[in-house]
Symmetry: C2
Subunit: 404 residues, 2 copies
Amino acid sequence: MAVGLSEPQDILAVPGIRLSTTYAGIRKSAKDDLVLIEIAKGGRSSAVFTRNRFCAAPVLLARKHLEKKFPRFFLINAGNANAGTGDEGLKRAQLCCASVAAEAGCAVTEVLPFSTGVIGEHLPVEKIEKAIPQLLQKLNAGSWMQAALGIMTTDTVAKAVSRKLKIGESEIVITGIAKGAGMICPDMATMLSFIATDAEIPLPMLDKLHKQAVQQSFNAITIDGDTSTNDACLLVATGSSRIALDTLNKSQREQFVQALSEVYRLLAQAIVRDAEGATKFVTVRVQGGNSKNDCRKIAYAVAHSPLVKTALYASDANWGRILAAAGRAGVELQPAKVSLSVNGVMIFNKGIKSPEYTEEQGARAMAASEIEITINLGYGSTAYTVWTSDLSHDYVSINADYRS
Amino acid sequence: MAVGLSEPQDILAVPGIRLSTTYAGIRKSAKDDLVLIEIAKGGRSSAVFTRNRFCAAPVLLARKHLEKKFPRFFLINAGNANAGTGDEGLKRAQLCCASVAAEAGCAVTEVLPFSTGVIGEHLPVEKIEKAIPQLLQKLNAGSWMQAALGIMTTDTVAKAVSRKLKIGESEIVITGIAKGAGMICPDMATMLSFIATDAEIPLPMLDKLHKQAVQQSFNAITIDGDTSTNDACLLVATGSSRIALDTLNKSQREQFVQALSEVYRLLAQAIVRDAEGATKFVTVRVQGGNSKNDCRKIAYAVAHSPLVKTALYASDANWGRILAAAGRAGVELQPAKVSLSVNGVMIFNKGIKSPEYTEEQGARAMAASEIEITINLGYGSTAYTVWTSDLSHDYVSINADYRS
């Protein structure tokens, strides 16, 4: 039931990246649940992980491995989060990495593990070990879509985006995949995303680009305020194009950054569009604030409010709930300066209901499947935008039934 | 559908308080929607109001009036919140107070207005003015239950609690009523509560008792994290018993404080038990922390998590969601020290799933309608308890349909 989201088209191979997928039997339904991504020698990777204090074993191990070596392999499984599993969980993640390393002839620290699925169950290491030789054999440049499908959990649509840039006579490709349809909140919620480019980018610059892009995409979405134990977002620069980003001119670099940001933003928005039970895609824009942080707090208070989200689901222009949510964000407001519009319809204008506003206008605006809520605080010039979804019966059904 | 909550029994009159109710036609359904409470001369009132920045006109006015005089009347309407109504809203609240003052022969500042209902609609002042003479005539000491019914909105059960204390040869009575079944969160959410005693209590002591009791009751409940524009909790000491609290001995005073706290706690819990769509009453207790504030943050993160709440609704012992919510509360944790039990069943013990734990035990524990989640952080001695409800299909239905 994804809102305005269709199957990805024209996903491009990224020179220097090969992928393969298989069904290892980790999840019950017989869909691919194990993905291997190979990065050509010389590639550089930047990572952002969940800040959840109960972060999972694969997150702990991936962080550790990243300190030692440039990764050559990402091993990703769906169906089991390997979280809340203590030392045994760490050992099992380690065994999976060791299995890839042994078969591929690389160091164990060159393999990063990623897991998503149910928390608190032990990872079936033997099933994974058994699948590794076949995964290594099947590696190929064209399997991005299969990988996007292999990392899905409650997602209904695979998420993948590609961009190609002409740089003089040459080309740079950017392709990313992502998963995650619930438990989405800033600070890397239940989502995994792997983005790769064949540009050559030194690590410090890669880290900076990655963090900036995450901030404006995956850290600006929320579905239910919950963040997960396992989330990770990786950006890989393989360098296979032999185009070094730091040798490009300013306009070329900007062109690259813009394309990269677009890949992140479209992947992040795809997660919200495919939110559990979502019937609306909602943009909450708070502007006219004194600080970005004030605007952010208010945007999230509105985007998290179950009362706002159920009103959105019902297409009910119950704008009082939007104001009430904004009012409890812990930010000083002057109600007499605040304005609120939904899809361009001015509802509340400087402290009172807009005289021209009619319930019919509100109902029409709220009936759309893409909703833009704009709150103008009326005293400054900063702004912040958050993307979210509504709260439907299906959200409750999906999350009440997930394990059963 | 209230969880473990039945109609209040044996609600006692409080000497010095008279009440009356009527249907003034503010709400559509023909149930009482206007309540007048009269406080005998000499009574003292303490108030706590919403901290929402979009607080409603009646809140602004009641605060102002409280600075001038000791209140003689509370005028409470359901069906219209008189919030988001700007200066016109203030004027209308003022007119309602003036109408009571004129008919009763008191100062307008001796009347406090309270409103609950839909935001952004203008208060029908004429309907209210018309009902005032009749309300004044009908005032009597025995109408507490009618008042509890008259302030209800989406509540399904009236909320009222009484306690009587023997002090030597005499008696002190405490009776309170409350409303509010959604939009409940700390800092005074959509709830109104009026509590009265015939003890004689000087204002500074009354304020202190009131704030303490609110902190441990109405500010320790959450249904959906939303707070409202209108909430107010009032404690009145009429003094009609001629028993002055500050002349009692220590044990008598403690007895009073305990009874008072119990009235607050039972009213607050009644609101959660009658939460919109609730099928479970959930106590989240976080202990073993380094500070009360740490425990509080974690308790609220768990109590607000839609994923935890849907799992509770489904009676699914999906304890990974509880840990994940605890882990994102922004509090430093050492997962290896943390334990989690539900209704006495130890699920997670110092960083790993308890070896004795079985899914059957978890399912049995979660099937109860009263659930106690205990999280032990394992390093300190502070604790915090929060009460909440689950998130059901009915919550979505009620809030998607409220205005239609």
